[in-house]
Each structure stands twice: as structure tokens, then as C-alpha cells.
């Protein structure tokens, strides 16, 4: 291929990559499905790669040059064995001089780069709400536990051995500190840490649903039908299988979590579960020096 035609091909490929990247942005803003986004993004990268391949093979001049190795043999204090590369520098300058349409090439490369950069940046809009309220929690004494439909959780709903997810009544449910998982165990088996007496009326226990390892939603609960031959009751995080012993205040018994799930003290008012205070610790993953207990 002549250099002239190769340059045109490179420009066409770069423009195609730019068009595909713009298409990605448009499809994203239009709410298209992920397959369309994947195809558009794939074409953009493939165009860029093809342009780089053609440019490398046919536009940029290639010339073989062998760099002589330094002499590693030990001869007194003479280590000055570097090869002579001055000729190569001249060759490269001559090769670059031969490129016509230099501005158009650079312009289309810049356009493709900018469009692809835009395509990489726009999906950031999918990252969800801001996490400024990472450590705050809406739980206070007197806040009622409600289900996902806002209905207060009655103590008769949960039988021993069952579990449900609850949110703070009258507060934003979509924050890190809000969701708790409520389990009910036989009160006789409770071995809560000292200072938590009365936190679990009738065997009701509530813990933050956010794993203290990586912030996943703890949504596995194993509750043995016949305990002597089964694993103990525990909450398990589905991401890395951190396992929390509910009867001992969600102490970590397995997995990478470094501290227990914060516990929410409970009381029962007119048959409804109500928080009897704030969470026992900081909610969420152990990062940036969060190392309680």
C-alpha cells in the first residue's frame, strides 16, 4: 500500500472510531441496552487499534537498526562501549518528514481520542447517588422499624428462626446506614457482649445489613432446624462469605470481615419493633482507618 493511501485509510479508521464513540455516548444517553453500548464501544476501540496497526505498518517509516550491546567484559576501567545511534536519529527525522496530511492525521487522532474519552466518562453517571452520608445513620431511639413498603414491623410477623430486612420509619431508606436485618432466635441461647443486656427483647436481634468487609448487602441467613447436627445460626455475606454469629452480637466467625456488624438495640412498643438507641458501631466497610474493636 502506498503511503498516501495508507494515510487516508488511517484517517478513515480514526474517524470511524470517533463516530462509534459518539454513538456510544448517544446510545448511553438514550438509555439503550448494554449490548448496543458494547458493540459501539467495541467498534470504537477496534477502529483505533486498526488505525494504529495501519499507521505502524505503512505510514510511519520503519527501518531496521541494531543497537550494539555494551561490552560487559572487564577490562580495567573502560566501560565506554555504547553503540552509535546518531544515524538512527537522522533516519527517524527523514521518515517523519515524509508524512503529508500531518495536520489531518493529528486532528482525526485527537477527535478519536476525545470521543473515546467522552465515551469512557459518561457511564460515570450510572455510579448512583453520592456517598457523602457514608457514616451517618438515621437510627435513633424511638425510630420504628418498617418493611420495604413502609409498613411497621410487628413482632408477631417473625417466628423464631426467620429473618427479614427492615428500614428506619420516616427516614431515607436508600442510604448506607439505613437497612438492618432482623432475626429472631431462642432468647435462651443469647450470648451478647457485655453491655448489651436488653438489646434483644423476645430474641429479636437487629444488625446493619451492610457487610463490614466490602459493603455488600448481607442477605444469607442460616438458621438450623436441628442445631446439634447443623451449623450455628449466622448471617452470611454473599460476596466473600464473611459469617457473623448472631447470638454473639454478629461476631465474625469466618471470612475476611474485620469487625462485627453494628447491632441495633431494640424494644417492643405496642407489638411493634422500635429502635432503643443508635447502631453500636460505624456502618459499612472497614476502610480509611475504621478499625473499631
Amino acid at each position: 500500500m502506498s503511503r498516501d493511501r495508507a494515510e487516508l485509510l488511517v484517517i478513515a479508521l480514526l474517524l470511524a472510531a470517533a463516530a462509534a464513540a459518539v454513538g456510544f455516548v448517544v446510545a448511553y444517553l438514550d438509555g439503550a441496552d448494554t449490548q448496543t453500548l458494547g458493540i459501539a464501544g467495541g467498534i470504537a476501540f477496534a477502529g483505533l487499534a486498526a488505525a494504529a496497526i495501519v499507521a505502524g505498518a505503512s505510514v510511519v517509516r520503519s527501518l531496521p537498526s541494531t543497537e550494539s550491546r555494551p561490552d560487559y567484559s572487564y577490562e580495567d576501567d573502560d566501560f565506554d562501549g555504547q553503540g552509535d545511534v546518531s544515524g538512527l536519529r537522522d533516519d527517524l527525522a527523514a521518515g517523519a518528514d515524509g508524512i503529508s496530511r500531518r495536520k489531518l492525521l493529528a486532528g482525526s487522532a485527537g477527535l478519536a481520542g476525545a470521543a473515546l474519552g467522552g465515551a469512557l466518562v459518561v457511564p460515570l453517571a450510572s455510579l448512583g447517588p453520592s456517598t457523602t452520608a457514608l457514616t451517618s445513620s438515621p437510627w435513633r431511639s424511638g425510630v420504628r422499624l418498617v418493611d420495604e413498603n413502609g409498613v411497621p414491623v410487628e413482632s408477631t410477623v417473625l417466628q423464631e428462626g426467620s429473618f427479614l430486612t427492615a428500614f428506619p420509619g420516616g427516614a431515607e431508606a436508600n442510604t448506607f446506614g439505613a437497612p438492618v436485618v432482623v432475626v429472631r432466635v431462642d432468647p435462651a441461647g443469647l450470648e451478647l457482649p457485655p453491655g448489651r443486656e436488653g438489646w434483644a427483647p423476645e430474641g429479636f436481634l437487629a444488625f446493619s445489613k451492610i457487610c463490614t468487609h466490602a459493603g455488600c448487602a448481607v442477605n444469607l441467613y442460616r438458621s438450623p432446624l436441628y442445631e446439634p447436627t447443623s451449623p450455628d445460626p449466622a448471617l452470611v455475606c454473599p460476596c466473600h462469605y464473611s459469617t457473623f454469629d448472631v447470638r454473639r452480637g454478629a461476631e465474625v466467625v469466618f471470612g475476611p470481615a474485620g469487625r462485627p456488624l453494628p447491632q441495633l438495640p431494640l424494644r417492643i412498643e405496642d407489638g411493634i419493633l422500635v429502635a432503643d438507641g443508635g447502631l453500636s458501631g460505624r456502618v459499612g466497610p472497614a476502610w480509611r482507618g475504621v478499625r473499631e474493636q
Partner: protein, 246 residues
């Protein structure tokens, strides 16, 4: 002489078979429970005790377990267990229909316990079932229903389970599964969950064409990595320039 001996042998065999034949042909509930009692003593009593009262630390008291639990554990082949410490897993049922009916009736007669629930999937709603499945079941059984691990126990695959098994498991809470009472999941909710499992879990809609086991993004990532690795190697070979030997 020989024919006389043969006649005697035949008579003995007939006499031995006769009561069994009478017993098995009776459809009477009490008679079936009696059969069940004999079978229970033979098959189950080494762990659950001679009268189903359980053995401390080995197997639970079955008085009050009800037909729901017995039906679930026996019809899915989860009982009997080879070793009382094992997790009961689905397998081929060990007993035939008649023996199953007898055993289940007998365990039900041991005490007042929940009866086999009746499920009407036609009355359930798939969308409500999906909501309930997502909040109460998918944690352990995965959103695709293929099951998973809950440290120390397997959550079984729900593909191909019957609606009755679904309802029994929800009410009984077998092994380490939490049990859900009627105040938490109503019978209508159970109908919807069973319908969702029938409609979606049993016949997953694979938009990508191949579910790769439905165990989440891990196999999909593996396929992507393998394809990408091969593609990258091929491209590297195509665009690379090999130095000619002199």
C-alpha cells in the same frame, strides 16, 4: 414325598405373604399408619428413636414435625441420611409410593404438626413472586434459583422442584433454611413464589443465548478473559515483526 414337601413350602410362603398383602391393600388411614410404624421402626428409629422421640445430639424429636416435614424430607430423598451429621441433599427417594404414604402418615400421627400445604400456582402472580423471591429467597438460592453456598451448607438448586416442595420448605425451614410463618409470607405469597419458580427459574430467559450455569458473572468473566486472551495473542502475532535470521 417330593410333592408333599413342595406343598408344605408353598403353604408356608402363602401364609407368610397373606397378612402383608391384606395390609398393603387396605386404604384405611389407621392401617397405613400401622404399616408406617413398622417401617419407621425398621428404617428411622436408629436415629429418631423407637417412638420418634428423637435422640439427643443425633436427630430431632419428630412429635409435632407434621406431615409437611415428613413429606418434604422423604419424597425428595433427603431422608434417610447415611450419617446424622451430613447435610440432607436431594436424591432418589428410597421408598415406593405406598411406603412413603405410610411413613408420612405415621410421622404425622406422632403429634400435632403442620400438614402438607396445598399450593395453587395458578392463583399466584409472577411479578409478586419475583419481588418476594428477590427479598426472601435469592440471598441463598441466587437470583437465578440455581442455589449456592451459605458457609457450611449448600442452598439447593430450585430448578424442577414441585410447588408443594416449595411450600413445605418455606413453612418447615429444612436444615439451615429459615422457616417463614403465615404472618410473614401468606399462603397467597407462597402461591406467587411457587409460580415464579415454575415460570422463571425452571425455564430461564437467557438473552445472551447461553446461561453458562447461571452462577453469576464469574463464568461470564472467564469466557470473556479466554476469548480476549486468544484474540490478543493472534493480533500480537499478526502485527509483530519477526527479525529475519541471517
Amino acid at each position: 414325598m417330593r410333592s408333599a414337601r413342595l406343598a408344605t413350602a408353598l403353604a408356608i410362603v402363602t401364609a407368610a405373604l397373606a397378612p402383608a398383602a391384606t395390609a398393603s391393600s387396605t386404604t384405611d388411614q389407621a392401617g397405613r399408619a400401622d404399616d408406617g410404624k413398622a417401617l419407621f421402626r425398621e428404617e428411622c428409629s436408629s436415629c429418631h428413636g423407637f417412638a420418634g422421640q428423637g435422640i439427643d445430639g443425633v436427630a430431632p424429636d419428630l412429635r409435632g414435625a407434621g406431615t409437611a416435614a415428613a413429606d418434604f424430607y422423604l419424597r425428595t430423598g433427603r431422608m434417610p441420611l447415611a450419617n446424622p451429621g451430613d447435610q440432607p441433599l436431594r436424591s432418589k427417594p428410597r421408598y415406593d409410593e405406598e411406603q412413603l404414604d405410610a411413613l408420612i402418615d405415621y410421622v404425622g400421627s406422632l403429634g400435632r404438626g403442620p400438614a402438607v400445604p396445598s399450593v395453587d400456582t395458578a392463583a399466584g402472580s409472577v411479578s409478586r413472586g419475583q419481588e418476594l423471591f428477590t427479598s426472601s429467597c435469592s440471598g441463598c438460592h441466587a437470583i437465578s434459583g440455581v442455589g449456592g453456598v451459605a458457609v457450611g451448607a449448600y442452598a439447593p438448586n430450585l430448578q424442577g422442584v414441585t410447588p408443594t416442595e416449595v411450600a413445605e420448605a418455606i413453612r418447615v425451614g429444612p436444615y439451615v433454611m429459615p422457616a417463614f410463618g403465615r404472618r410473614q409470607l401468606s399462603d397467597a405469597d407462597v402461591n406467587s413464589i411457587a409460580r415464579y419458580i415454575e415460570a422463571v427459574v425452571d425455564s430461564p430467559d437467557d438473552p445472551g443465548g447461553w446461561g453458562i450455569g447461571h452462577i453469576g458473572p464469574v463464568p461470564e468473566g472467564m469466557v470473556a478473559w479466554l476469548l480476549a486472551a486468544v484474540t490478543l495473542i493472534v493480533i500480537a502475532m499478526l502485527i509483530g515483526e519477526r527479525r529475519r535470521r541471517r
